[in-house]
Amino acid sequence: MNRIRTIQLGALVLLVALAACAAPTPQIIEKVVEKPVEKIVEKTVVAERTVVVQPTAVPGRDTLVVALARAPSGIDPADHSSREAETVIRNIYDGLVTRDHASGVHMEIAESVKWLDTKTMEIKLRKGVKFHDGSELKADDVIYSFERVFKTNAIEFPQPHTALRKGFLGPFGSADKKDDYTVVVNFTAPWPAGMQMLVHTQIVSKAYVTKVGTKGLIEKPLGTGPFKFVSAKTGFEEVMLERFADYYGGAPTLAPVGKACVSRAVFRVIPENSTRVAALLAGEVDIITEVPAELVGTLQKVPGIQVKTVPGTRPIWMEFNVAQAPFDNPKVRQALNHAVDKDLIIKKVYNGLAKPLAGPLMPANNMADPSLKPYAYDKAKALALLKEAGWAPDASGMLMKDGKPFAFVIDTIDSMRPIAEATATMLRDVGIDASVRVWEYNVVRPKLLARERQAYVGDWGDSTFDPVGHMEAKWHSLVTGSTYGRGNFSGYANKRVDELIKAGETENDPAKRKVLYYEAQKLIYDEAPAIFLILPEAIEAASARVQNWQPASDSRENLHDVCLK
C-alpha cells in the first residue's frame, strides 16, 4: 500500500512541478464567437499568443499529428455517420461549398451556387480542380456524387444499401449536366437549408469510384482536398495523409488560399482522455480533440500547450415523457426548468465552458430566437408552479400529491452521466426523488421512442446551423418510417409546431422562415417538453508549435491552413 501511495505522491509531485513551471502564463484560451450568418463573420480573440515553450521539438518534423477520441466509422463521404469521419473526410475531399469556423458558407469547388427558383439550384464549377490522381473534376463527378448519396441502394458494398448521408440532400430530385462545369439540381420542394446542408456533401471521382468500387474507395480514398490519402491502419486507428501538390487552393474567400502548410497530416485514435492528454504533453501528438473540461485549467498551466474552445453544436436537454403523469402537465415541466441551476452546472461540471440553452435551438443556429432567455433558476417559482399542479412538500420536504411522492428515473448515457446526476441532485433539492440510470444509447433509444421511460438526458447534433436536421428530428411528432420525430424522445406532439416545422423547411424567404421558426421555438419553450440545459463548448488543445489552428464548431477540423513552427 505504501508503494501505491508513493507512486501516487510521485504523480502529484510531477503535476505540481509541471504546474509550477508555468505559473506566470496568462490565460491563453481563445474564444470564437459567431454571429448569425447574414452578418459578416467576425472573430473575437480574447487573448492572442503568449510566449510559450515547446514541449518536445522533434527536429525537422513537418508532420501534424491529430489525436481523435474515436475511430472514424468509415471514410466514404457518402456513407458515414461519425464526426471523426467527417473530420478525416474533410481533409481529403472538398465539397462544393464549405463553412468557416463559425457558420458562414463559402464557395469551394463551386464557383457559384445560385437558386434559379425555389426548387432549382444552378452550380457552376471552378475550372482546373484536380483529383488526387490528376484528373480534372467535372460536372459528371458532381452528379455522380449526388446520386451516390441519394439513390436507393446506390452503395454496393458490403451489401447494397442506401447512403447514410441521404438526409443531407433533403428533397433532392435530380441533377442535370448543363455543361462540363455547370450542374443544375432539381429539388422536389423548396429547400432553404440547402446551402448549409450542401457543406456536408463531398465530391468523389466518378471514374475512380466506378473503377475501384466502394470498397476500393474506402481502402484508398481519392478526392480533391488539400491532402491526399497515404495509408490507414486497422479500422482507421491511424490515417496518414500527405499534402496534395496540385491543390487548387481551397475556398477563395477563406484565407490563406493555397496548398496545405504541413507536408503530412496524421490522425490517430486515442480513446482514453488521460492518455490523449498525456500524448500531447509527451509531444507525441500536436492537436488533441475532446479535452475534458476539468483538464483545461491544468493544461493551461503547462508551458508549450495552447487550449482553445469554440461553442459546440451539441445542445443537451433533459426530455420529459410528456405522455405520462406527472410530466403531462406543462406547469410541472416549467417548474422543473426553473429548479435547475444551469449556471452552477456550467461553472462546476463544465468549468465555465458551456452556455445555458434558451429553448430547443442552440444560440448559434441561424434561426434561433434571440428574444428567448434561458429559464431562470428560481426555486420559489418552481415550488409555486408545482403547488399549482398539486404537488406540495411534506414534513421532510419531499413533494407529495395524493399521498404519492414525486419520484422518477432519469435515463442517460455514460458521457452525460455527470450532468444527469447534477440535474437529479438539483431536483432533489426541491423535493423530487430523481435518480439516474445509465444506458447504452443503442439500448435506450428504442425504449425512449416507445415512450417506455420517464426522462432522458441527451444531446442532438446541430452542426448545420439550420433548424433542418434538428427541429423535425427532435420536436416534430413521431412519424414512423420517416425522418420526422426520429429523435423525439419526449413524445411531444403539437400540431401547430408540426405545421411550422414543415413550413419552415420549404420557405425560401429568410425573414418569413424566421417568423415560422420563432413561433415554433416560442411554443416549445413555453410548453417545455424538456429542461433546456446547456450547450457545451468544444475544447481542443495543441502544442505551441501548431500555428493558425482553430477548432471547428461542427468538428470539421480543417488542417489545410495549420502550420508547424
Binding site: 501516487q8 504523480a11 518534423r61 479500422g235 480513446p271 492518455t275 507525441e284 447504452e440 439500448v443
Partner: protein, 336 residues
Amino acid sequence: MKAVKILERMLATIPIMFGVAIIVFFFIRLTPGDPVDIMLGRSAAATQREIEQLRQQFHLDEPLHVQLGYFLGDVLRGNLGYSYIRNKPVVELLTERLPATIEMTIGALLISLIIALPIGILSAVRQNSLLDRVSMAGAFLGISMPGFWLGIILILFFAVRLQVLPAQGRLSYDVHLQEITGMYVLDSLLTGNWRALEDSLKHLLLPSITLGAGVAAIIARVLRSSMLEVLRSDYIKLARAKGASEWGVVMKHALRNALIPTVTVVGLQVGVLLGGNMIVETVFSWPGLGRLVVDAIFNRDFPLIQGAVMIYAITFVLTNLVVDILYTYLNPKITL
C-alpha cells in the same frame, strides 16, 4: 511416440472448440427480448429489409436446433457473421486485430516472466529475507492493482516526465514497416528493419508492463512456493552432496523441477492476460481485439461479441495446448 501423443492431444481440442462455439451460440439466447430490436435500436430508420437481413443471419424464425446447425455450419466455414457497427465481416475484423492483441499478450507474458523468474527464485533461495518479504508483499499488491491506474501512472512518468517511452500506439507514424504477420516486432525482425524493431519494442514496453504486472506477481508466488518445496527435496540434497555449486543446484536441479507446476499456472494466466487486454488496450490506444470488444459491447454488436469471445477462448485453448506440450518436455513422467 511423443509426436503421436501430441497429435492426439491436438485432436482432442477439436471437440472443445465445438463446445465453445455451442456455448457462444447460446449467448444470444440470454438477451432479454428480441436481439434484433436491441441491435437495430441504433438506426431508428431501420428498414424492414435490414430487420429481415438480421433475422436471416440469426435464423431467428427457425427452431433452436436448426439455428444451432446453421451457426455451427457458418463457424466451420469461417463465417462469424457481420458487424453492424463496423460494416465488415466479423472474421475480417478479428483477424486484422488479433495480431496486435497477441503481440501485447506475448509481450506481457515475457515481461512478467522476466520480472517473476528472478524474484520467485531469489525469494525462495533467500526465504524470509528482506528481499523475500518485500517482493511477496509487492506480489500481493501487483495482483490487485487496477490495470488502467498503473498504466496511466507509467505513462505520466515514462512518457510525459522522462519522455523516454511513447504513451500510446504501436509504431511511430514516421516509421515505415512492411506488415507481414501484423505483429510489429516480428515483422521488423523478418524484414530486418531495425528502426521499426526499436520503435515497436518501445511502444510495446509500457503496455506489457501494465498488463504483465499482476501476472508477474502470481507467477512469482507460484514459482517461489514450488521452489521452496523443491529445495527441501532429497535430490537437492544429493546434488549438494555431489559437490554441485549453489548456482548449479538452484538453476539446474531446483528450477527445472519448480517450473513444472509453474508452467501450468502460466498457461492459466494467459486467460487473465487476454481479459486484461480490454482495459490496457484502451489506456494505451492499442488497436487490438480488446478495444474492439469494448466498443462492440457498448454498441450491442452481438455477432462481433460472439466472434470475439470465441476467438479469445480458442486462443486460450491453443495456448494451453502449447503449455501441455511444453509440460511433457519439462516433466518426463507425463506422456500426455
